[in-house]
């Protein structure tokens, strides 16, 4: 795992802007859990707590999907036991919320994941094994955007500072 880099020492001239987080990790439950915990620490106090909560949940669902379904394309890895796919995770904070990008070197994401869909009635949904993850991702994020870049999946999304997508009162964009 390549850990996220601390800010370089700029002396008195601190870089302007908010904290960011970048990490390269193996798609495994415990490394994902640690990345989520560290993400929270990195942005605590710098973004509204509620936005951080929504980002953590959306990011957990995105990363868990990669852990669960991410497989190397045929021929991409030596025979035998395949290593987990590799995830590149980047989150930056800005005036309009949190910008998130997740890339992985697994097989392409099925297009159906990104199609807006309604959950079945709750009593039916409660009997199913899953299907909640992408539903929550679509609900929690804005500008959800996917593309395949050579051998990588790239998923980008945005977490607004307030749940209804508006900025909390008293804040303004300074660009």
């Amino acid at each position: 795992m390549i850990d996220d880099m601390p800010f370089p020492d700029y002396g008195d001239r601190r870089p302007c802007g908010a904290p960011m987080f970048h990490r390269i990790l193996a798609a495994e439950p415990l490394t994902v859990q640690q990345a989520l915990i560290d993400l929270r620490v990195r942005f605590a106090g710098a973004v509204p707590a509620d936005a951080l909560d929504r980002m953590e949940l959306a990011m957990a669902e995105v990363l868990n999907n990669i852990v669960q379904h991410g497989r190397h394309p045929p021929g991409a890895a030596p025979r035998g036991r395949l290593p987990p796919v590799t995830i590149h995770l980047t989150v930056t904070s800005h005036a309009g919320g949190l910008a998130c990008a997740v890339a992985d070197d697994g097989t392409p994401l099925p297009p159906s994941c990104l199609v807006p869909a309604r959950l079945p009635p709750p009593e039916i949904a409660a009997l199913r094994e899953g299907g909640f993850g992408w539903f929550m991702i679509r609900d929690l994020t804005q500008s959800l955007f996917y593309f395949r870049e050579q051998r990588r999946n790239v998923l980008c999304f945005h977490i607004p500072p307030a749940e209804d997508g508006r900025r909390p009162s008293g804040t303004a964009v300074v660009a």
């Binding site: 439950p29 989520l36 909560d53 949940l57």
Partner: protein, 118 residues
């Protein structure tokens, strides 16, 4: 995977002593809770007060237990922290469970022997 179980009038109260109910723990959680549900009942009151984060894996584990409860048993929830509550709300699974909003109101009154300062 830490549980704290208390016998209550009509079943058992299970307090999940974990800060995260996520993909890394969901299977162990499901196995442990299934064991408790098999031995106690009919009411299984799941107290999630210590849980600060839950994802769809944790939700899936709770739903899996609900599906395999012995006949006549029921799974109820209490102590939902805001992040856990959000998952139930977003998925509308708050409508399929009885959710008690005040965990302490469900505690049995202390037996005389338990009173402190006597």
């Amino acid at each position: 995977m830490q549980f704290h179980t208390d016998l209550i009038d009509d079943g058992v109260r299970v307090r999940v002593e974990e800060p995260r109910l996520d993909a890394a723990i969901a299977i162990r959680f499901k196995d442990r809770l299934r064991d408790v549900a098999a031995r106690h009942g009919p009411r299984i009151l799941l107290d999630l007060t210590p849980v600060q984060f839950m994802d769809s894996s944790g939700l899936g584990a709770v739903l899996a237990i609900r599906r395999i409860l012995p006949d006549g048993h029921r799974l109820e929830l209490t102590g939902l922290t805001p992040n856990v509550d959000r998952v139930f709300r977003l998925t509308r699974m708050d409508t399929v469970f009885t959710i008690h909003r005040d965990p302490d109101a469900l505690l049995p009154p202390p037996a005389p022997d338990d009173e402190a300062d006597r």
